[in-house]
């Protein structure tokens, strides 16, 4: 038991060190934004896929925003991917399509496998361009965002692009404020540090782009994955394509406003991430492919973030059990476990990362909310652990993975 505990603490310490490294890099290191200055070019044709499943509350906003971007009109086609919606999504899309002939071509999907990846896979029949951008329907792109996301594709090494997600409904309640902080740490520090250090910035599947030839080379969208973005990140990496992160390509999104919706979301992310860990982890670390040594290590650590939640719980259980059994003086180990716990789990960054991100974003008072992150931490660690357990039990229970759409809250279209 004690060796298990040592192993867990060692793993958690590695993650903590990684988070410190990322934070220090963002505060003091060389910042890479190589493509952000490309503002003049012979812009390529681009297809913008907007994934939409029952999005009547938000679809108007994104289609209107896309019609107002400064990308050459004749070079951009918007394809709303209406995936079996049962609300007014189809009607709204068709109305926009009629109002903007030649600029919007609707793809209505009425049957087939569920999930975003399956819908995108089917929608590829509409795509003829080399550059594909993907947005979820609750996003609101700014005027210059499309050019910013297309620019990295002038680099022949780039297969995927990821922009920064910025919550719009920040002030709604405690949860949205915590998610705002979490997103800030995750993008402003984690993603940009990975970009700076030439590690593995993660494709987020929205405010994102992919090169069609790279996508076809790796076999297209994986509709068996619950997180097609993570899956895409690692398949591109293994095939020698880079995913790059553009911190200044910011786009508003709507974050969950209720805890049950948040729990569902993070459980889906955890399951999808763990799917990718099982599918690519070993091959990424030891296999013969194009990833560099630093990408291999960072990639495996990135894949393992959601596995750390149950390991942390197990670590705490072992520490307490060993303490009460009087097995060994474990004060140091327990102290280390306590110190590193916040830094180790899942989708959210450590306190210091978030504090650094708030500073980089020039925000002030919201940093006062940091102590409340304990709440988010607790919810996440148990939700992710629950997701992992259900995944492990799935072969025994016969449970099927299914894709849960994140509920929307916007009230004014």
């Amino acid at each position: 038991m004690i060796y298990c505990l040592f192993a867990i603490v060692a793993l958690i310490s590695i993650y903590t060190g990684r988070h410190y490294g990322f934070t220090l890099n963002r505060l003091f290191g060389f910042q890479r934004h190589p493509y952000i200055d490309i503002d003049t070019a012979e812009w390529p044709d681009v297809t913008v896929l907007v994934a939409a499943h029952n999005e009547e509350k938000v679809i108007t906003n994104i289609l209107a925003a896309l019609m107002a971007v400064n990308y050459p009109q004749e070079k951009m086609l918007v394809v709303p991917v209406n995936d079996r919606s049962t609300d007014r999504t189809r009607e709204i899309i068709d109305k926009f399509s009629d109002e903007h002939p030649g600029r919007i071509r609707a793809f209505h999907r009425e049957s087939g496998k569920g999930g975003k990846a399956a819908a995108l896979k089917d929608a590829m029949q509409m795509v003829e361009t080399e550059v594909i951008l993907i947005f979820d329907a609750d996003y609101i792109p700014g005027r210059g965002l499309i050019k910013q996301l297309v620019a990295p594709f002038f680099d022949p090494e780039v297969g995927g692009v990821m922009g920064r997600v910025v919550p719009l409904n920040v002030g709604t309640n405690l949860l949205t404020r915590l998610l705002d902080l979490e997103r800030s740490g995750g993008y402003q520090v984690d993603q940009q540090a990975r970009m700076n250090l030439r590690l593995v910035p993660q494709h987020g599947g929205t405010v994102a782009g992919v090169r069609r030839s790279a996508l076809l080379e790796i076999g297209g969208w994986n509709d068996n994955s619950l997180t097609e973005d993570t899956d895409l990140t690692f398949r591109l990496l293994l095939a020698g394509w880079k995913t790059v992160y553009q911190n200044r390509s910011e786009c508003y999104e709507e974050v969950p406003e209720t805890w049950p919706v948040r729990i569902k979301q993070i459980m889906r992310w955890a399951k999808g991430h763990n799917q990718a860990l099982v599918a690519y982890g070993f091959h990424l670390l030891f296999g013969k492919h194009r990833a560099t040594p630093r990408e291999r290590i960072d990639g495996v650590l990135l894949l393992g973030v959601y596995a750390m939640a149950p390991l942390t719980l197990i670590g705490w259980f072992l520490a307490l059990a060993l303490f009460y059994a009087g097995t060994a003086p474990l004060h140091g180990v327990i102290a280390l476990l306590a110190f590193t716990a916040y830094a180790a789990t899942g989708n959210f960054a450590a306190f210091f990362e978030i504090a650094a991100a708030a500073r980089l974003d020039y925000t002030r008072q919201r940093i006062c909310l940091l102590p409340f992150l304990v709440l988010g931490f607790g919810v996440s660690i148990f939700s992710v652990s629950r997701a992992v357990i259900s995944q492990l039990m799935a072969p025994l229970t016969g449970a099927q993975f299914h894709w849960d759409k994140t509920e929307r809250f916007r009230t004014t279209p």
Binding site: D37, T40, E42, G142, R143, G144, F154, V170, T363
Partner: protein, 343 residues
Amino acid sequence: MLPLLPAIVELRLKRDAQPLNVIQQHAGEIRHFANGFRKVAVELQIPLRECIATGTSAAGKLPDGDEYLVLGRADNEPWMRGGKPLAICRVVVAAGIDVVLPDEMTFVKEIYAAGQLTGGKGSTYRAILGDQDVHLQRASKVTRWAHAVGAFRAEHDCDLYGRASSDQEIDLQSGCIFQRLNAPRISFGHPTAAVDRVKSVASDAIGDLPSSPAPIARTLHDENVDIPPGAVIPGSIVTRGKLRIGAGARVLGSAKSDKAMTVDAGAYVEGSLISSGTMHIGRNCRVGGPVVAEHGMVVDSGTQCGAIRTPTTVSAPTIEIEEGALVFGTLWARDEGRVVPKA
């Protein structure tokens, strides 16, 4: 509870609960400030017309409280006080006629010129908007931005901090420092004569290069790569080491290196050139797509980036560009760009 007190206060008062301010509209448009100042220029159109008609000058106040001076005739009187030349002009200046500004003078507010504007030697400007040509004489400085609807020319040793743009062309002579330039045609040390401008634009258009990231085969290398002189690479090339494109070689796609890139004289790249290290582009090269170096760039004389119908971006933290080079589109040196004399 005490550590939670600031958190509870913030949660209740929502002092910092607005979404992060994402720039949704101007999107980094180089002419953003010039377009904003044009509204001021529009407000001054009536006094401008009156001053031109009467051949006088007039002063007044803008709605925001800034004082302005409108010039309807070309003489030195506005720049003199008690028979001595002024050192500093503290008001917004709007000229309705062709104007020649005095030497060694500092203009702390914006300048608008409806006609040709010629700056004095060694003068400093906050910002200039010219509806025709703008010509800065030797050792001038622009601290914020300058935009010319006509041609923009800067003589030797001018410092252009911030943005300089033109709807026609920019020409900078050696010793000039720049940061962000944008024009259909940016030349160094050899301006197109105004009368030949249209003709020149037409001839530049010949041989436009495609630069879009078309699906084109690419080869990946983990080591340093030397493309031999005169070789033809039918697709794109990516290397994790250094890349040298030999003299007269042709790359029909794009080229990327994770370390330093050297492009020898006369090489031709249809797509983009991207280096995660430094980049040196030799003489008389042609590049169709964006040119990006993460750690500094040197561009030699005779090299042409982009074309009139296919403008592009050349970008690096520091850029040293030799007189005789030509860029169509944007030239962006985040830290500092410098025009050096032809060796």
